[in-house]
Symmetry: C2
Subunit: 425 residues, 2 copies
């Protein structure tokens, strides 16, 4: 289906840059062949023939981008939160991921994930599956049908994981990855594969070397985890004693942004050198504030990322995070930055709502190209929000209305969603 | 209307103490004359004649208690969150509170607050109004109709507040308070007055002295704020140079728990002496984690309160907090305690979900008597929750289901609510 040309009418908000949130009450937003053609108070004559979808009184914002989410963990979100990363992995995440060897289970569980993602305000997402090829293809099939644009990764892990989940060798892990890539070649319009070594502790050097080769052969992007937790970082230090810092352990294998678009989730404890390397290499940081809180990892220095000009977006990180809502990720990012500023480092001032909104839209959207804004030439990802109740009192600005919605949204107010010019609902 | 006797059937969860959350799947919960008469797997013969309300498959928990909420701030929750306490008061809270001199505005605005409270899982609340007597009576009239049991306070403030809001003298403030108490005497079944000096910075010594007299004459409880923010504490130190610590400034006037049931909100920076004094005096701490985060105050040492055996419950503190949901307050309390443990003081281990649930039910409920549990003899406050979607996978326990609900609740799943044996909906 060719992207349509049409016009939305309503109360429009989007970011130009991290400090500049622009708002247009009762304006027209023009989509031409799936791309934004601008915002107008009065509709120009040249667009007079296009259909106008009148969403007067509703908020219209760019679709949100989730740079980091684990699809198989959706089933147990909100459970077992009184735990820390490494034991949480062993008690909760790994046992659940093990169940996805059963394709019947995968179909049922991933269906509930796909439904939630479709109903959300998210239009782009980078998703971890599990090690299992058949289940990963099931997830990709389901995500394809949602119409959301996603990158989905079969996970690689050949060490330091339970027997029921660990891949038998780096060769088998690589062979499965190739089989998976062959199986999904040409199969999807909305879904693409992404190379997904889980993290250094669960990937041998041989595996990382193979994955780099696969990445090069297929020209794929990469996603992984970085510097989330102090115990994890210590373990990486032992496993890779010759690496300068955690991220360098990826970089030595060409899996840290130089050779391919790359996302690193968390970066709670990334030091100056690691952050600078990410900046140089163009790595995207997926900032996951709720997960970092729930698993008691800490608070990432997102103010530093932003001020240093490192590419950065938000991740829900279900099920370290309990919700797929990127609105919640925005407000968590603001809240946690305040607590970090107050308790840890008063030189890194809190994020503003403008900055958090930018991260959840244009910041993370950049990983998908010209995504996350309504500036002319951007892909037309839009969500229409019915924030009618609660009642607003006396002269609330559109910017205030957006902030309020982000804080009090239950996640169920998304009335319509468009991805690259196609209306999903 | 006399409280009824009846039986609820469903999946029942409640706290015995802070560490003990008990759960009963598909059990009967008996209410006799508004009081819990116990939980049964099979219904005893003596109750066979009572009506059974069959909520099979739904969660049944004690009603939640909100120990601290500002009704007039409900209108602007979620707005202006990029601000700190003292400037937030001047930019947001005070200007809005000033509008409640207009009774027409008060009626409309308080109506939206009352509706939200009624729909919530909260069955008991301690509420700040504004300085205005007519508006406070309007709020009490509206809260009376909700059926929730509330304590509502006309606020007192005779200094350090804007001209449009400050009371003209301590005499006028006291006289207005007396007029308010006369007006509400005998008027309500569900609402009672509570003495409400805003906080030390806005109350002169004369006013505090008068309020103590009024408290004694009418045998009223007391609510105020304590040790929320470092700038506020510094100001109190200047205003009351002879007080040992912030709380001592209340204690010198008999407004710190010795003479009356008393709630102090926040206590983020309460030191050892202040905490001990609260324990000795039986003060209830209203722990308001979201507000303390939003206004960048810090994180209260709630682990210390709990371990030292200080009475403690949760407060939503709208509009420092953005939502009236005490489920959100529970999960915020857990999350913020993790961050405090990680960033500030590793000797104070994080709260468990059990502890947070206790604080939101029996902990805070204690301020209202035998409230917040289904143990025999407790007032029958219950909420029935329809958590049917999302789908649960494989052997989730009832305790896990409750935790999950607390984390992912949108606040709109409350199917039925009972207060002291009366069904509100």
């Amino acid at each position: 289906m060719k992207p349509k040309s049409f016009i939305l009418k309503g109360d429009i908000c989007f970011s130009l840059d991290k400090d500049t949130l622009v708002t247009y009450e009762e304006h027209f937003l023009v989509c031409i062949n799936g791309v934004s053609a601008g915002i107008f108070k009065a509709l120009p004559q040249e667009y007079a023939a296009l259909e106008v979808l009148d969403y007067s009184g509703k908020l219209i914002i760019p679709g949100l981008t989730d740079l980091h989410i684990h699809a198989p963990q959706y089933t147990f979100r909100g459970i077992g939160m009184d735990d820390e990363l490494l034991s949480w992995l062993n008690n909760r995440a790994f046992p659940e991921e093990g169940r996805y060897s059963d394709t019947a289970y995968a179909l049922e569980a991933y269906q509930s994930f796909a439904e939630a993602m479709q109903a959300s305000a998210t239009t782009r997402a980078c998703i971890f599956a599990t090690v299992h090829v058949p289940a990963t293809l099931i997830l990709m099939d389901l995500m394809e049908k949602t119409g959301i644009r996603t990158l989905v990764g079969k996970v690689n892990m050949d060490r330091n994981a339970p027997d029921y989940l660990v891949e038998k060798s780096s060769e088998q892990s690589a062979a499965d990855t190739l089989a998976w890539l062959e199986a999904c070649a040409g199969r999807y319009e909305n879904v693409s594969p992404i190379v997904t070594p889980r993290f250094i502790p669960s990937c041998s050097d041989e595996l990382l070397r193979s994955l780099h080769g696969i990445q090069q052969k297929y020209a794929l992007p990469v996603q992984s985890h970085l510097s989330e937790n102090t115990a994890e970082i210590e373990l990486v230090g032992q496993l890779c004693s010759d690496a300068e810092f955690y991220g360098d352990a990826y970089d030595r294998f060409g899996l840290f942004g130089k050779d391919a678009p790359t996302i690193m989730a968390h970066c709670v404890y990334s030091g100056e050198k690691e952050i600078l390397r990410m900046k140089e290499n163009g790595v995207y940081i997926a900032h996951c504030p709720q997960s970092n809180t729930n698993i008691a990892s800490g608070v990432a220095p997102v103010r530093k990322f932003v001020d240093m000009g490192v590419r950065c977006g938000l991740g829900s990180d279900v099920a370290g995070g309990t919700t797929e809502s990127i609105f919640r990720a925005m407000t968590d990012a603001v809240q946690m930055s305040k607590i970090r500023w107050r308790l840890q480092d008063s030189t890194l001032r809190p994020l503003t709502f403008e900055e958090a909104f930018y991260l959840g839209t244009k910041g993370g959207g950049g990983f998908f190209g010209k995504v996350g804004s309504f500036e002319t030439g951007y892909e037309f990802d839009a969500v229409v929000i019915d924030d009618a109740p609660p009642k607003h009192f006396h002269g609330i600005t559109l910017r205030e209305r957006l902030e309020k919605f982000a804080y009090i949204s239950s996640g169920h107010e998304i009335a319509h969603k468009f991805v690259s010019g196609k209306q999903l609902f």
